[in-house]
């Protein structure tokens, strides 16, 4: 039986496939990151980045509403949304390019397309941290005090941030390991170049007023 999809049907099935793959692989980055990233580095199903992109865009809308207010400053809020979303996209492309170029210099054997999916999923810890921080800002606005509850919250916030940071570190390592086929020594070598560049980029983003903490 010959079954052909028209353009609209193809788009809908691609989106559905993307959502299913995104759900599976997001859980995979928590449950079995090694196996998931090994699969992602050779996968060419880029439609699974669409749900992630949508969540990021919605999050930035929420964070700009929180910062500037929907009714108070709608133009500034909209401009902020465009800036942060574009900034996140440019940051993503710059980081992927930086990892690719740095890896080629040390003898990495992967292709640029091998990095898109692994690095895309590496944004999950970043997104989760930003969401938690925004919600905590909304529910328990800073500054924190030296009271018992202030100290407990501060401790839990630091512990939560460290868990997310270490998870991100694992996903970064797996991106280079499977995306560019690097070993540990070469990963450390590439990182010694990428991290200072990342810090300078973060300072630039801060000075431009786009991100206080970069969405890397």
């Amino acid at each position: 039986m010959d079954f052909k999809l028209n353009k609209r049907q193809f788009l809908i099935t691609s989106l559905l496939k993307g959502i299913i793959l995104f759900s599976q692989n997001s859980l995979g980055t928590i449950v079995a990151p090694y196996k998931t990233y090994r699969r992602l580095s050779t996968s060419r199903h880029f439609e699974q980045l669409l749900p992630l992109g949508l969540i990021v865009a919605v999050y930035f809308w929420f964070s700009n509403v929180l910062r500037y207010g929907l009714l108070r400053n709608p133009l500034i809020m909209a401009t902020g949304w465009v800036e942060t979303t574009t900034g996140a996209l440019i940051t993503f492309l710059l980081v992927v390019s930086g990892i690719y170029i740095g890896s080629l210099i040390v003898g990495g054997k992967g292709k640029l397309v091998n990095l898109f999916l692994p690095w895309g999923y590496s944004l999950l810890p970043t997104l989760i941290w930003f969401i938690i921080t925004s919600i905590s800002f909304l529910l328990i606005p800073p500054p924190r005090t030296t009271s018992f509850t202030g100290q407990v919250f501060s401790f839990l916030f630091i512990v939560g941030s460290l868990i997310i940071f270490l998870w991100k570190g694992i996903l970064y390592y797996l991106t280079l390991r499977f995306g560019m086929r690097l070993d540990l020594y070469k990963i450390l070598l590439v990182s010694s170049g990428i991290f200072p560049a990342g810090i300078l980029y973060s300072l630039l983003m801060y000075k431009l007023g786009i991100f206080r903490i970069p969405f890397i």
Partner: protein
């Protein structure tokens, strides 16, 4: 044999596993293998206690400055 689905699946699996060569670190290889075995599946079971310990160390080192740090980080989004 070549059309056997189990054989084909095995072939795919072996190709997937051999995407990168095995990591060796000389005399540190057993330690590396042991460490990575903990984080290959459910890394959170290692990350949560590790982060908790690191949090206690930060609390001891930074003291009340941790509160200022958290107030700063809360503005970071």
């Amino acid at each position: 044999m070549k059309e056997d689905p189990i054989f084909l699946k095995l072939q795919d699996r072996l190709s997937e596993v051999s995407v990168v060569s095995s990591q060796t670190l000389g005399p540190l290889t057993p330690l590396y293998k042991k460490t990575t075995s903990w984080v290959k599946t459910w890394p959170l079971r290692v990350l949560i206690p590790l982060a908790f310990l690191a949090g206690i160390v930060c609390e001891v080192i930074l003291g009340e400055r941790i509160i200022k740090l958290v107030s700063l980080l809360q503005h970071g989004f």
